[in-house]
């Protein structure tokens, strides 16, 4: 008799959980923001070890911008840093670097982010989320797909 009671309560509890989970899914689907269109734009950085004059900089940036999958490229002549943004499903950082070096034979290196630096960054990028928030975000991503 007691056993039946426990089973009954467990089944009712599970049903309530499933029902509320379904409500959560519907709620997320109704209120979530549209997917960020730039989700796959990846940045890479190349540090130049030689001076680059303005004319060469223009040619170099134009070359990189015309590579397949590249969104944009910016060169800072003061720091000698080239930043390239590309869609990571179509292009990759090493390929951009290799093609640029083949084009101009520059004295330059790829900047690689170290493990310690990977945890640093502008907080607006949204870290420190709770488990529950991460779960809800993952569900939202699943619904968007």
């Amino acid at each position: 008799m007691k056993k039946r009671k426990i089973i009954k309560i467990t089944l009712i509890s599970l049903s309530v959980v499933v029902l509320l989970f379904a409500v959560l899914i519907v709620h997320i689907a109704l209120v979530m923001k549209p997917k960020n269109v730039e989700n796959n734009i990846q940045l890479s950085r190349i540090d130049f070890k030689q001076p680059v004059d303005s004319a060469e900089a223009v040619k170099m940036v134009s070359f990189v911008r015309h590579l397949d999958g590249v969104d944009n490229a910016v060169f800072n002549p003061k720091s000698g840093i080239l930043i390239c943004g590309f869609y990571n499903q179509k292009q990759n950082a090493q390929n951009v670097y290799d093609k640029l070096m083949a084009y101009g034979h520059y004295k330059a290196e790829r900047f690689m982010v170290g493990a310690a630096d990977e945890i640093k960054g502008c907080p607006a990028m949204g870290a420190d989320k709770s488990f529950i928030y991460t779960m809800a975000s993952s569900l939202a991503d699943l619904i968007r797909k």
Binding site: L24, N40, I119, K120, G121
Partner: protein, 201 residues
Amino acid sequence: MKKQVILAAICLTTASIFYTSCKKKDTTTTTPAATTPAGPTLYTRVGGTAMVQDPKAATGTMIETGRLTLRSVVDSAIYVIAADAQINSFFHVLLAEVSAGNTTGFAALSENFTDFLCTATGSTNANYQYGGRSMKDAHNPMYTNRITSLVTNAAFTQFVNDIGTALAKNGVTTTSTASSDPKLISDLVALLNSTQSTIVQ
């Protein structure tokens, strides 16, 4: 009676767990004032709510002109900042490569900063509201592990300079706005500078 009490307790507990799953874990979010005492909001002045085709999305995907303007400036600024040796150490995580399907650092920063500017300039679109940490908490290593040192006045000034460079890259200069909205740039810069005392701690 006892059964009903247990059931009610279970429902209440589960409901509160699922309710809080939609709330971002955060402290108070405050954004600077967006309006001048009289007149249109900054958001209206940078384009407002007129819907246009999003140039970076599939045909038919629309975006408010105000958000598009702000996003374009933010995206340009991210490139400028990443190439600026004076302050790019705050943003190294932008360069960390992610595997396919995951949101990149660029995308995360673009969306969050654009949301912040939309809210700060007066947008009322619920989809564009900033829900992240307050500027104070977001820039204090005590409250977030993504910043390892406090921001200095010099770094903040350089950040605003880089935003200015990004505005120019998007055709927003004192010359181009002289006839249509001569105070636009100064008001935008004033908005950014209003956060300085909070961010530089």
